[in-house]
Amino acid sequence: MSKPKVGFYWCASCGGCEEAIVDLAADILGVVAAVDIVFWPCAMDFKRADVEAMADGEMAVCFVNGAVRTSEQLEMAELLRRKAGLIVAFGSCAHTGGIPGLANLYSREGVLAAAYDAAFATVNPEGMRPQTEYAAPEGTVTLPELHETVKKLDQVIPVEYYLPGCPPPVKLITGALGAILEGTLPPKGSILAPEIALCSECPRKDSKPEKLDFTAFKRPHQIIADPALCLLAQGLLCLGPSTRAGCDAPCITGNMPCTGCGGPLEGTKDLGTNALSAAASVLEATDEASIAVGLAEVPDPAGAFYRYSLPASLLYAKKGS
């Protein structure tokens, strides 16, 4: 039996997802032995022509990380979709939009103005902006156009599986590769991570009280968190209750709250408002005044609850952006 052909590709990515694959270290050798890696720009020569030459569906599976925001990324995603039997959206950016998806809180014009007009050290009296076509004295120099908004992968191509995390934990990557090789993949559309909340694998779960009640949220720099107790019980906005497990809670081990990169739990319709609901529920405040006090230190609900998932939310982007 011939080895299955596997590809890896990145769109608008920070490179952390690629490092995660490299971090498989010794494990990767086993993977290399079992599959035929046919496309991986990070580690192998880029051969778009080779991908184009493949028969449709010839690649068994392609892992794609990064969000999508330029026409070039869109084209590559569409090409890989044709050539791959299975597409796995790899990492938060591809899965739910990721941190770069926070750009959907602002218009493209706002993004450009912040960089080229308003930035502190920028000296730009003529209001120069990068142009998609610039007539230089020597000829025309081109730049790709930035799309208005940031999209997650399945907003541009159909996707079969999702590997959450920023970047995905090594354990989940090996699990996914194993399932592909052994033919034990769950039904299409599945998220390849446990269907339980992060709290259930948190080293501090035993200190999470049955009923949480505190009068005000705190921000991480405002308290010295007890390194043994549930962070939510200490008033820190920990998204563990509404985030999917699979990472072994490294942020909690680092004594910082979970910010939710593991993505939504099964059945979540909108990650941000789901997490918001869970957070608001645990506060012990009943009237308007005490509620205002209790929530005063959650100054940025959109950024906190949609930290990795704004493009995946039902709202998608700021209205009118």
């Binding site: 920070c14 920028t122 610039y134 000829g139 930035l146 940025d300």
Partner: protein, 489 residues
């Protein structure tokens, strides 16, 4: 005949690098444009976020050097909240940061630069990759490189929660105090790193310095630019990555400026060009005079070569020895040869390792006192560190609740962008004559990129040591006349 050559390396960072080259009527290079074709807008979407979240948000600028952004942002929010971390917290931070430097410089030298130097620039393409490096130095060494990196990355996870996008930095300190066990692990790792640093330098001597051809090539004119150099120094003008003053030396090596990072706006400015999404930094006192060498031009460089030029030495003994050897061998200060960055990088790796030992062995490292709680009203903060790829500036303003209202980030590559553009232009001129496009240009451009180590995520393209590049040559009607590919297809 007028044609356009496009080199389109499919790399990442803010998108990927792209080079458009224009030929004049006689087929010689008129101008080469080095471009960054994407902008992700971190400056904008930092607005509205709590300042203390910046260390975790901005680390997503780069998954290869997340710790550098995490650290610069953490120092910026110290300043924004007017809080001075306890001594132990600073030591933990610098220890993690030094560990990161060892890991990242090792990645760069062995996986990126290695194929150029260890295997050699003329080796067959098929060997100019990490496997070629392993073939040359032996599998044992290769295993050692991978093992060292894993050890360093595990140490970062241990102290910082995660390695890709760590969580340790908070205004006023670090999130977690280290234990005696952690300390023991760091001491062991640090000692290992020093040995590894010494070994790597010896490897460089044996494989590169003993080879006259390599040395000639390092000192060749194509990769030489006389610019200003910037780097962070301590009170004795020794290289420091975590804290200190910024020092700038002129092309003749004399000190031109020495300033507190918080004053950066008085000395550094960013220039916008219509043909790239990246902004180009220059020295404000001299002004933007275009892409030009010399003391009259405000162009400056950062990263290992620049740091060594800008300092008077290294703060640790073995690195200092290596520093002296470096300048003796290369003909005194400053060294203008871009490719000398690789050697400088190894000297820095040794310094980072020696610094790790000092910090790891410090009894105060495991003090539980690692946090100061801010009490003042937050307003504005600037944080600067030396990233492996050069000086990194984070600057935030906030409202009284500490919510960011304005942000500016000058990443290492921006500081170097003008000089990189000049190097690309220069190599294109040297390699394209009378319409003859030498395939070697692919190599040259790639090597220039690698030497600067721009934050193009080149480092993640490093496994084979080949940055895929495509050159397309168009005639006046924009029809493709020829295509050269990096992979030789």
């Amino acid at each position: 005949m007028s044609s356009k050559v496009t080199i389109d390396p499919i790399t990442r960072l803010e998108g990927h690098g792209k080079v458009d080259i224009f030929l004049d009527d006689s087929g010689n290079v008129e101008r080469a444009y080095f471009q960054i074709p994407e902008l992700r807008g971190f400056e904008k979407f930092a607005e509205g976020r709590p300042a203390e979240d910046m260390p975790q948000i901005t680390s997503r600028i780069c998954g290869v050097c997340p710790t550098a952004h995490h650290m610069a942002a953490t120092k910026a929010v110290d300043a924004l909240y007017h809080v001075d971390p306890p001594a132990a917290a600073k030591k933990v931070r610098e220890l993690i940061y030094s560990t990161f430097f060892v890991e990242d410089h090792a990645l760069h030298f062995f996986f990126l630069g290695g194929p150029d130097f260890v295997v050699g620039p003329h080796a067959p393409k098929a060997e100019r990759n990490i496997l070629g490096v392993l073939g040359k130095v032996g599998l044992e060494v290769g295993t050692e490189v991978i093992g060292l990196r894993k050890q360093m990355r595990d140490l970062i996870s241990r102290a910082g929660g995660k390695v890709a996008h760590p969580v340790f930095g908070l205004p006023g300190g670090v999130a977690k105090a280290l234990s005696a066990d952690d300390q023991a692990a760091f001491i062991a790792g640090a000692k290992h790193a020093v040995e590894f640093g010494l070994f790597s330098l010896q490897l460089f001597r044996d494989l590169v310095l003993k080879n006259e051809e390599y040395v000639a090539w390092i000192t060749s004119d194509t990769y030489t630019h006389q610019t200003y150099y910037m780097g962070m120094v301590d009170g004795d003008n020794k290289v420091n990555f975590y804290d200190g003053q910024l020092r700038v030396v002129a092309p003749d090596g004399r000190e031109y400026l020495r300033f507190a990072p918080a004053d950066y706006q008085r000395h550094v400015a960013e220039h916008v060009e219509p043909w790239s999404y990246i902004k180009f930094c220059y020295l404000k006192g001299i002004g933007w005079k275009g892409f030009a060498d010399g003391a009259e031009s405000g162009v400056y460089a950062v990263a290992p070569l620049a740091r060594l030029n800008a300092a008077d030495g290294m703060a640790t003994p073995r690195a200092q020895e290596a520093y002296e050897e470096y300048f003796q061998t290369l003909g005194g200060k400053p060294v203008h040869h871009t490719l000398a960055n690789h050697w400088a990088r190894l000297i820095e790796m040794l310094y980072a390792a020696e610094r790790m030992v000092e910090l790891a062995e410090d009894p105060e490292l495991i003090s539980p006192d690692v946090r100061a709680i801010p009490t003042a009203t937050p307003d504005e903060g600037i944080g600067v560190v030396e990233a492996p790829r050069g000086t990194l500036f984070h600057h935030y303003q906030s409202d009284a609740q500490g919510v960011v209202t304005r942000a500016n980030l000058i990443v290492a590559t921006q500081n170097n962008a003008a000089r990189i553009a000049m190097s690309v232009d220069k190599s294109a001129r040297g390699l394209i004559k009378a319409g003859e496009v030498n395939d070697g240009i692919l190599n040259m451009v790639e090597m220039a990129f690698r030497a600067y180590d721009p934050c193009h995520g080149c480092a993640t393209h490093a496994l084979p040591g080949q940055m895929p590049i495509k050159i397309s040559i168009y005639d006046q009607r924009h029809e493709l006349v020829r295509e050269i590919r990096r992979d030789g297809v």
